[in-house]
Amino acid sequence: MRTALLADIHSNLEALEACLAHARRRGAGRFAFLGDLVGYGADPLACLDIIAGMVEEGALALRGNHDEACLGGQLEAMHFAARDAIYWTRERLGPRHREFLAGLPLIHEEGERCFAHAGMDQPGRWIYASDAHTVARSFEASAARLFFTGHVHEPQLYFSMPAGLPRPFRPVPGVAVPLSEFRRWFVIVGSAGQPRDGNPAACYALYDEAAGTLTHHRVPYDCEAAAQKILAAGLPERLAWRLRSGT
């Protein structure tokens, strides 16, 4: 069974469709959406319709900080562009979409796997797993062996060590990394809808359960169309150009 892992889609319909098509061509039989389905981009409703339809057919979707922000509450922790996009999205969500977002879990465990948008030690606090210490705290919070998250926007793996802190590894696109069964792995899936590592191509990962491997893929998509929609919607200009540059 191959599971496609998509994180930080951020209302980017073009990127979402490109990743889904790419994953299906590679035999993905299951899909997991690791939070931040909306925010930033101009297509929240279309994205949520696709994802909600897939969840009905067995896909897994988790709630991210941007999804939660769209449901209400104060936004002090967010920068201006993100905040503007949340207000814009809130106005457009109907009861059906709000209900879908409100029903998403923060964390999901099945067997040796644990899924969440951010650090697992305090789900809902949206901890950035940006260093070995935060990853180590997630390892302590669950007995799982494989952790799948997003939130950081740049792809990264951490693996446990017999002694000491977990070590980072930057995955190479298209190269299957065997997730050695003697270790625990913390997988940060790169962002599908708003890549920030200098490569504008959409990012997602494919976990192959039988082979025990994880492959990050980069999928070129029509980022110009997505950027134009952001400008046409009156969303902050910066959100459009960062799609073109992948930063």
Binding site: R167, V172, P178
Partner: protein
């Protein structure tokens, strides 16, 4: 998954090996289990993990095939192809060997190493015990417990604070903590060649890190000081492999293999003439230099090889069209003649002599020499350094086959040849270039001049 039953073959410090019966008609099998009992080396499991990761990604005749992996009550296991062949350890025990024999064995080992580098893996533990020779003369590398795959997590490098490797063959840059230079394997091939040629170890077998560090500034005794009958070309090749700085070594294992296959074409430098180790002044200078030397930025092995291509240029010494020759040279310059690790082989193919004349060795020799002189003259405007240029003249009725065979045997990355638009030969033999394009395993550039012929 339970491992297949086997009989114990070998009990090493890191793992136990079992022979496993194979179904009729299939390859013989070997089962490997890491030593995990109390008191075993902590590297056993990491090495096993690394081997499983890397072996699963490798292909080709120079590595054993991974057939299955799993875990049972007795711990994890790997099932792989059991290579039928003599261990290089047995050959090292018979050393010193004749120069030709050393060249053949080390050439085979270098070809195996090059194939590994092409697949983005550096072995980092090349020693006689980890090399086998198949009956057809192909070398096989085994034990990837310390190896490094450029695109996978480096579990070994993360596990050990101190450099991992055998004190006999560990390279200076490995001692400095760099596990990403494929030329570390070229260094270990130099140690292997030294051992086979002299029966001695160039740096001994130091156990302490401090003792290993001597090789950062002290060079080994020249092989000919130990074995005076050794030809200068072999000392040249060995000492080039053992250079302290990776940039001064052979850029690729393929270039070492190529030289060992054509020893008479190796340009001799002061390395070949050396009779003793460097004097104290040079050692002190190197010792000072060894400090504060930053490790160069790591490139992937495949990326490194891309900067050290082997170009094979077909030159017809009888062709007097200067415009075509200049177009070929221009193509060569465009093909990055500036690459520091580049090797260009100019190959001239001579038509066989008419029946009845082939028995005259003097005539044969002078034809051959004249062709070599013509090739050297042809190459002069390129201004290539001696170590970057090789000349090869061969007599063959079928130039395309000769070019293709040479390219396949010597890991050529690109063949450059001219289109013979109106050659009289073409009517009889067909186009050489179109056959080379169709049948070569590497890239081919066919060069035409700007002039059009009617």
């Amino acid at each position: 998954m339970n491992a297949p039953q086997g009989t114990l073959l070998h009990e090493g410090g890191m793992a136990r090996l079992y022979a496993v019966d194979a179904p009729a008609g299939e390859m013989p099998r070997l089962l490997k289990r890491p030593r995990l009992e109390f008191g075993s080396h902590p590297g056993c499991l990491v090495g096993f993990e690394m081997e499983q990761m890397i072996l699963g990604r490798l292909a080709g005749p120079h590595v054993p095939r991974l057939l299955a992996a799993g875990s049972d009550d007795a711990g994890p296991w790997l099932l792989m192809e059991r290579i039928a062949g003599e261990s290089f350890a047995a050959m090292a025990a018979r050393a010193p060997l004749a120069a030709g024999e050393v060249a053949r064995l080390v050439g085979a080992a270098a070809a195996a190493v090059h194939d590994l580098h092409r697949q983005n893996v550096i072995h980092l533990d090349i020693k006689p015990e980890n090399l086998l020779l198949r009956a057809d003369g192909t070398a096989v590398l085994i034990d990837f417990g310390l190896a490094r795959h450029a695109e996978l997590p480096d579990l070994v490098g993360e596990e050990f604070r101190l450099p991992a490797g055998s004190g006999i063959a560990i390279s200076p840059e490995q001692l400095a903590g760099n596990r990403s230079d494929p030329r570390s394997d070229v260094f270990a091939l130099g140690v292997l060649a030294y051992r086979l040629a002299t029966g001695a170890l160039p740096f001994g077998n130091p156990a302490s890190r401090l003792a290993m560090h001597r090789r950062l500034y002290a060079d080994p005794p020249p092989p000919r000081a130990l074995a005076p009958q050794l030809p200068p070309w072999l000392q040249e090749a060995i000492l080039r492999c053992l250079e302290i700085h990776p940039e001064a070594r052979y850029p690729t294992a393929a270039q070492l293999a190529h030289d060992l296959a054509h020893p008479d074409r190796i340009p001799l430098t002061d390395r070949a003439a050396r009779r003793e180790r460097a004097g104290p002044l040079a050692v002190v200078r190197r010792w000072l230099h060894a400090f504060g030397r930053a490790a160069p930025a790591p490139a992937t092995p495949a990326g490194h090889l891309a900067h050290a291509p082997h170009l094979l240029v077909a030159v017809d010494p009888a062709d007097e069209r200067e415009a075509l020759a200049e177009a070929l040279r221009a193509a060569l310059r465009r093909a990055r003649v500036a690459e520091p690790g580049l090797r260009v082989t100019l190959m001239g193919v001579l038509a066989p002599l008419p029946f009845g004349e082939e028995s005259d060795p003097a005539l044969e020799h002078s034809r051959h020499t004249a062709a070599l002189i013509a090739l050297r003259h042809w190459a002069a405007p390129l201004g290539l350094a001696p170590e970057a240029l090789r000349l090869h003249v061969e007599e063959a009725g079928d130039p395309a086959s000769a070019l293709l065979a040479y390219a396949a045997a010597h890991h050529v990355d690109r063949i450059v040849l001219g289109a013979h638009g109106h050659s009289a030969l073409r009517r009889y033999l067909g186009s050489v270039s179109s056959r080379v394009v169709a049948e070569a395993a590497c890239s081919v550039t066919v060069v035409r001049t700007g002039e059009r012929t009617a």
